[in-house]
Symmetry: C2
Subunit: 394 residues, 2 copies
């Protein structure tokens, strides 16, 4: 069946680009540095209603991009990264909602990042690209939301780093979001996750081809980037899911080889994902984005999450964690919930029983579809929005 | 105070060496390869009693060595790696017991390993060293125990990979051990731990100085080995202990630097331990030893641990796990306990409540001292051994 004809698919979509912050009106970053011009890659699915009150902003994780759903061409083998979630009748029902996904600054998927050409020099930024934060990513997206003519987003939603951006949206721009859905997220990165990010970065730094970030004219630090990705993949699974997925099974052999080749299925899986990643991701972007995550702390080092969430007291929250997620464990979501409740916020919390580990936020589609559809329907009802009563296309 | 004068210290000790398996009587390895001559580095503390029935064999973890306790010289700044556990009045009371620790084959601490000179070529083995297993390590130690004139060890004890060796001893040589104390161990490596070992190995393979293991005449793969160690250190701690030890504190700075230098205390800790490790460990040994761990599966791929432990039914066991250990989680010790119980073995199990993660087996000294002293006293009593009634030195 052609990609376009798949039931529930949004069909053929294309990535769009929005450029802003032209000098001398650069975006002022948290670091104090300025960045401009800035291009954001984004995609939209479904249609806006008259007052654009049916707009949903999906925020992606570390290695994601703007292409959430559908296909870029009829020959595309794979749809967007969360195709199960976006389409007619799906979790984010494109018959009702206007769904937008924006790539982050610092990335390498069409938005301005370290691999972009610096217009001042005519060469890729490399490490001269300023260090960015989750707040900077969100501030840039706010320009896109202005550009799209959206006063108030129905919801901001994302998993992992996408959830951090969703929380940042709710805290920084509470007047621009009716609700917020952080999945498998945290209000501040734990030292364990900082440590895991740091060894990923060290893998890149230690690749001689990295050359202090100046590699765009020569061989790339593929060995380091693949290694960083392998480390990441271990943290996205759970002990239990790895038992089920791989066990101690050997790859294409009956018995131990007593050598250092790839022997176990789990080793082969890591190799595959490592080698695949270097085809689609930039090592410097990996550095910048993991650094942005490490800096993420809504409490700004005070430890006071109650005060941090005070501005978001009027936003409705659906917080979701997953029992086997050890990268952003459930207690970190419960910290968010407690702080929100202390502010009197309207917050629904679900700790989904799942063996999938951190990846559960992408894989537990049925559970999330039910949770999120119901939540969005309630938000629409309570906010007096007509859009959800019947499909926008009717 | 001089090292020798510290209360409870075994004082000045020295490493000894035992060489065996001289050609043509090489040790036959599990792989079918032969290895010889083999040297084992070992240390002993306390004194043997008349029938040498008070001998305890301590088995070390991945990066350990034969130097468990005491000092090598009066100027030594640090004692052996488990000094808190071995000495007069300690967990392994050298007034009563004769304590032996043997380095493993494949290592780089005085025993035959990939950095040893191959007598056939006059050059270091490098990757021509045969791949070894936990069973091979134990088979080599059995020669040492023969050499020391010990019929039956009072106990074999170790944490992590040391616990795997202890279990292997109990299963392979049940007639040579009265009891067995695996701490924070497993009967078979999980796919998650294989994956973590594999990324450590990949860090070494991808270091250009590794040169397929042939680096002893030139620069060493320090960058890769340090990176492997950094990954390892994350797995030795727990999320909770990292919160307590580091939190999100910055290292020698007040605020974010917005650059890629080491900023968080946890990053500094990893760097320090990575750089320290390269001074004392050989990258090829890291490959060989982690590979031996990956291969470790007492059930030989059958999943049948009950049958695997059948030979050890007459050995008394004290199995200890630690609640926050996610590298060898408590359920893996409970699998051992269940399989032993199904064989009618005498088994005591304790899941120690600790936040220290995998490192707890080295750090929970007070709890372990109580558990292990009581267990050893009971074993002596039940086995009709006089040695424990009063100090051997009286």
């Amino acid at each position: 069946m052609a990609a376009t004809g798949k039931p529930g698919s949004v069909g053929i979509v294309s990535t769009q680009h929005f450029t802003f912050a032209q000098p001398p009106h650069e975006l002022r970053l948290e670091s104090g540095e300025k960045l401009g011009p800035i291009t954001l890659a984004y995609e939209t699915y479904g249609r806006p209603n008259a007052d654009r009150s049916n707009a949903i902003l999906i925020l992606h994780a570390l290695s994601g991009d703007a292409h959430v759903a559908g296909y870029h061409s009829p020959d595309d083998k794979k749809p967007g990264w969360w195709d199960e979630a976006v389409g007619p009748g799906k979790m984010f029902d494109t018959d009702r909602y206007w769904v937008i996904c924006s790539n982050v600054i610092g990335g390498c998927k069409g938005s301005t990042g370290p691999s972009s050409v610096n217009p001042r020099t005519g060469r890729p930024y490399g490490l001269s690209f300023p260090v960015i934060t989750i707040a900077d990513m969100v501030n840039a997206q706010r320009y896109l939301i202005d550009h799209l003519g959206i006063d108030k987003l129905l919801t901001v939603v994302g998993g992992s780093m996408g959830g951090m951006q969703a929380l940042q949206w709710a805290v920084a721009y509470p007047e621009r979001v009716r609700s917020c859905i952080p999945l498998a997220a945290t209000a501040r990165l734990s030292p364990q996750t900082i440590a895991l990010n740091e060894v990923g970065r060290q893998a890149i730094y230690r690749d001689p081809h990295w050359n202090h970030g100046d590699y765009y004219d020569g061989p790339r630090p593929n060995a380091g980037l693949a290694l960083a990705r392998m480390i990441g993949h271990i943290t996205y699974l759970s002990d239990k899911s790895m038992h089920r997925k791989f066990g101690r099974r050997l790859q294409n052999r009956e018995r131990y080889g007593y050598d250092f080749s790839v022997e176990f299925e789990v080793e082969s899986y890591l190799q595959y994902h490592g080698e695949n990643f270097i085809k689609r991701f930039d090592a410097n972007s990996y550095l910048y984005i993991t650094k942005a995550m490490d800096y993420f702390d809504l409490a700004n080092g005070t430890g006071n999450l109650v005060r941090a969430f005070a501005p978001a007291a009027g936003v409705k929250f659906l917080v979701v964690s997953f029992t086997s997620d050890w990268l952003y464990p459930s207690y970190q979501s419960r910290e968010i919930v407690s702080a929100l409740k202390a502010n009197g916020a309207d917050v629904t919390y679900c700790d989904v029983d799942s063996d999938y580990g951190h990846d559960a936020f992408l894989l537990e589609v049925n559970t999330l579809t039910q949770l999120i559809s119901d939540f969005l329907a309630r938000v629409c009802r309570e906010e007096g929005l007509e859009i959800c009563a019947e499909p926008a296309s009717v």
